[in-house]
Point group: C2
């Protein structure tokens, strides 16, 4: 079987036969790469995203330098909330000037018009696709899931306990429901526009849904994920869902309608493959910290992951979390090399 | 059945019949209480711990003010590492002047002599026991589990990803093994001394073990927990084990030998009760953020928790995590009131 990188990824996402799992890494374009730090030098995060040429360059770096087999848009899950008229900064995590904590705050949000608010995102995707198409390298888009966006919008910043968000959830559920409805609409439009601009696969990051128990996850995170999956079903790009720290939610994520579930290292991949059956492909799930280990150890782990996931309908090799600033470049190369050396 | 508070807690821990679950709250003596803030005013955290009179006063505040049914020593899981000669400060999280990252660093640690290093801990416990004995209120001691202490000692501070710790785990496992052996010895001696000083139940906090997948948990956290449980088995105080964010590790924690497993809100209490059988009692597991809800909601949740845990051999009502600085005092009172209104 001779597959292009695009065919391999799309087939793995859809659960069609492949020669071996494709490989890419969450946050593969990041601070661990010297060329990334050079390209970013002096520029704020948002200004880097707005500079289409630079965003294209950064997105392509891991393809050229560490051998990943897919390119993902350089951006942040928080960028599209600019389409709601929210004042946003990165220091370096997202910082919201005026947190949204009441129904009235929600009502004041603008009607989402992403094409107008963040045109550079789509221009970056269009240019990337033009570069990648001749090489048959797949292009991924992504968005933050509504629950995670809401968590930040309510808190104003990342926190450990998300007490303000949960206060809303327990005390003023209608306000949170209204906020999630707005964010779901935003996310659908944003991902649709990304697909129109050339994204062939899209990943939904529910970074904070893991703070919820299963009943709350089913009430507050899953419905938005499902609506997004349903509304994107006809758009032609497989949907990957990543719930960080979501080992306890795996059964529920199977009901999301996502084509692929991206798992962190806390999930037993063999058991997940058994439980997923034909419902979803799996992505993951090496601990990014494990990339500090010697090359041979990394290769052995890649082999173990591929074997564990083999019963799944499809498997995309990836980490269980994004690359960290101190992830060794050599470790990333060892990871992608090991993937290429696999044969099923 | 007419039980004292001490009898109720001890029986629930051991899986003997009780009239209703006893109730206390993790971090019940904390910043959410105005009297705590007043007692702390101007004093550093460590100086407060060292001031026995003040530590006794703070430990007793929740008993008098919010109706909890057990008193836990006011201290921090990090205090006993002073017994290893480690330079420690709180700002407000623990901060280690010289992180421990090599085998040589481990060798330099002092032989643990807790009675000499932190005598105020045991004096506080002795005084508390004298006050509580006539009221038949139980006294809890506690310690950090070796993995969690190691995580801080290696990083030097709390972090999100614990990349240095994991580097050691993946790259220099012998150094980490040596560190864990030292910390296990420290923890056993520390808890034994607490029990001698009057603690009737002790809780082991493995705050960071939830960052591990199950194979790594079994390799790096569980063995120390088991050794502690085995060596304390004859000491006469039930052992509670709390693994924060450990829903994916529940099956493995059942092998720890702890009398009680303290669970966070991500764990389905009914399913945990079924899986635990006669092996362990359960503690928990309301989300502390839920204490912001109206009184009636809190009472309803307490009823649901008690019903869900009813098939367990024993149940101690508690939160799934410590009280937060913004936890409403009224919510804590509603929680303990609801517990007292339960009848099984």
């Amino acid at each position: 079987m001779s597959l292009t990188r695009t065919e391999r990824l799309l087939r793995a996402c859809r659960g069609e036969p492949v020669d071996r799992p494709p490989v890419w890494l969450m946050r593969q374009a990041g601070r661990y790469l010297p060329s990334y730090r050079a390209a970013r030098a002096g520029l704020s995060f948002l200004d880097t995203c707005r500079d289409v040429e630079r965003a294209v360059e950064i997105s392509l770096q891991p393809l050229r330098e560490v051998g990943t087999e897919a390119v993902i848009l350089f951006s942040d899950i928080f960028v599209p909330v600019l389409g709601l008229g929210v004042e946003l900064d990165f220091q370096p995590g997202p910082l919201i000037a005026r947190p949204i904590r009441t129904r009235a705050d929600v009502e004041k949000l603008a009607e989402p018009d992403v094409e107008r608010a963040v045109p550079y995102v789509f221009e970056t995707l269009r240019r990337l696709r033009r570069v990648l198409e001749p090489e048959a390298v797949p292009l991924l888009g992504f968005a933050g899931a509504p629950f995670t966006l809401a968590a930040y919008l309510v808190e104003g910043r990342g926190t450990r306990h998300f007490a303000e968000l949960k206060r809303l959830l327990y005390v003023d559920p209608d306000a949170l429901r209204a906020l999630l409805a707005r964010l779901t609409e935003l996310t659908v439009r944003y991902l649709e526009a990304q697909i129109r601009a050339g994204a062939q696969v899209v990943q939904l990051f529910d970074t904070w849904a893991g703070i919820l128990g299963e009943p709350e996850y089913r009430a507050w995170a899953l419905p938005a994920q499902r609506e997004i999956a349903e509304r994107l079903a006809g758009a032609g790009a497989p949907l990957i869902l990543y719930v960080n720290d979501g080992a306890h939610l795996f059964g529920a994520t199977l009901e999301s309608g996502a084509d692929v579930l991206s798992l962190d290292w806390r999930v037993d991949l063999a058991e997940a493959a058994r439980r997923a059956g034909r419902r979803a492909s799996l992505q993951g799930n090496l601990d990014p910290c494990a990339l500090a280990a010697p090359r041979e150890r990394i290769a052995a782990w890649v082999g173990e992951l591929a074997r564990a996931a083999a019963p799944a309908r499809g498997h995309v090799l990836n980490l269980g979390h994004g690359c960290l600033p101190d992830t060794p470049v050599e470790g990333v190369r060892a990871f992608t090399d090991a993937a290429r050396n696999l044969s099923r």
